[in-house]
């Protein structure tokens, strides 16, 4: 019904956090001190892409199934008071589970990337962009 709203909310927060971290890293030149290009802004970039990709594609699915409409209140479940409680329940269970699973998988990706990055020679990059 509206489960994708939870990952979307997380995506908004992590996008803001990534921008702030990126600015701080550029300011203090963290990239130059790092052994690799594996900065926190880059790691958060992976999470953002997972969350935004999932959110956009799930939004299409909800539009396809008529659960989301382009006019207020946007969620068809909101039109009927009897559907509001099941919708909130779905958001609290499936939506939260989606956000948790995506974040856990991202955590595993970061751990593996950090393990792989250990022992690499020093590089002089300030790379903070995308999933390279």
């Amino acid at each position: 019904m509206a489960c994708f709203l939870v990952p979307m909310a997380e995506a908004i927060v992590t996008t803001v956090v990534q921008k702030v971290v990126e600015k701080q890293e550029v300011k203090v030149g963290v990239g130059k001190k790092e052994r690799t290009g594996l900065t926190w802004s880059r790691k958060l970039g992976w999470l953002n892409k997972l969350l935004w990709g999932g959110t956009i594609l799930l939004a299409l699915e909800h539009i396809w199934h008529g659960e989301v409409v382009p006019w207020p209140p946007f969620l068809t479940a909101m039109e009927n008071p009897a559907d509001v409680a099941p919708m909130l329940h779905e958001v609290a269970t499936i939506g939260v589970a989606m956000a948790v699973v995506v974040t856990l998988v991202w955590g595993i990706i970061v751990l593996i990337a950090e393990q792989k990055a250990k022992g690499l020679p020093e590089v002089k990059t300030v790379s903070t962009e995308g999933a390279k």
């Binding site: 489960c3 994708f4 990952p7 992976w46 892409k49 997972l50 969350l51 935004w52 990709g53 999932g54 959110t55 956009i56 594609l57 799930l58 299409l60 699915e61 396809w64 269970t93 499936i94 589970a97 989606m98 699973v101 995506v102 998988v105 995308g130 999933a131 390279k132």
Partner: protein
């Protein structure tokens, strides 16, 4: 069906990314992460619906297949918009100089 098709797209784009890595001029990594994000979310949705409501795990019919195709088209469209805006090939510059 859309879960299977999105998972297939995720696996294929990851393979393409890995074959070209570390070069990712055309940002296939972004497309791959988009598909993986959606695959994980739908997997959670399918598992939870299966555990609570039962029924068939995969919905296999024409409507679900068309949705799967539409999902892949949307992801490709978003990726192309990212490519056109970032223009890693410098195509805009070259075209506009003509």
């Amino acid at each position: 069906m859309w879960l299977i098709m999105t998972a297939l797209a995720a696996v294929i784009t990851t393979a393409i990314w890995y074959i070209n890595a570390p070069n990712d001029k055309y940002k296939v990594g972004i497309l791959s992460l988009f598909f993986w994000g959606a695959t994980l979310m739908w997997l959670v949705d399918h598992v939870m619906a299966y555990l609570t409501e039962g029924g068939e795990f995969f919905e296999i019919n024409l409507d679900a297949t068309l949705l799967g195709i539409s999902v892949i088209i949307l992801a490709l469209l978003v990726w192309e918009i990212v490519l056109l805006i970032s223009d890693p090939k410098g195509a805009w510059k070259k075209v506009l100089k003509r």
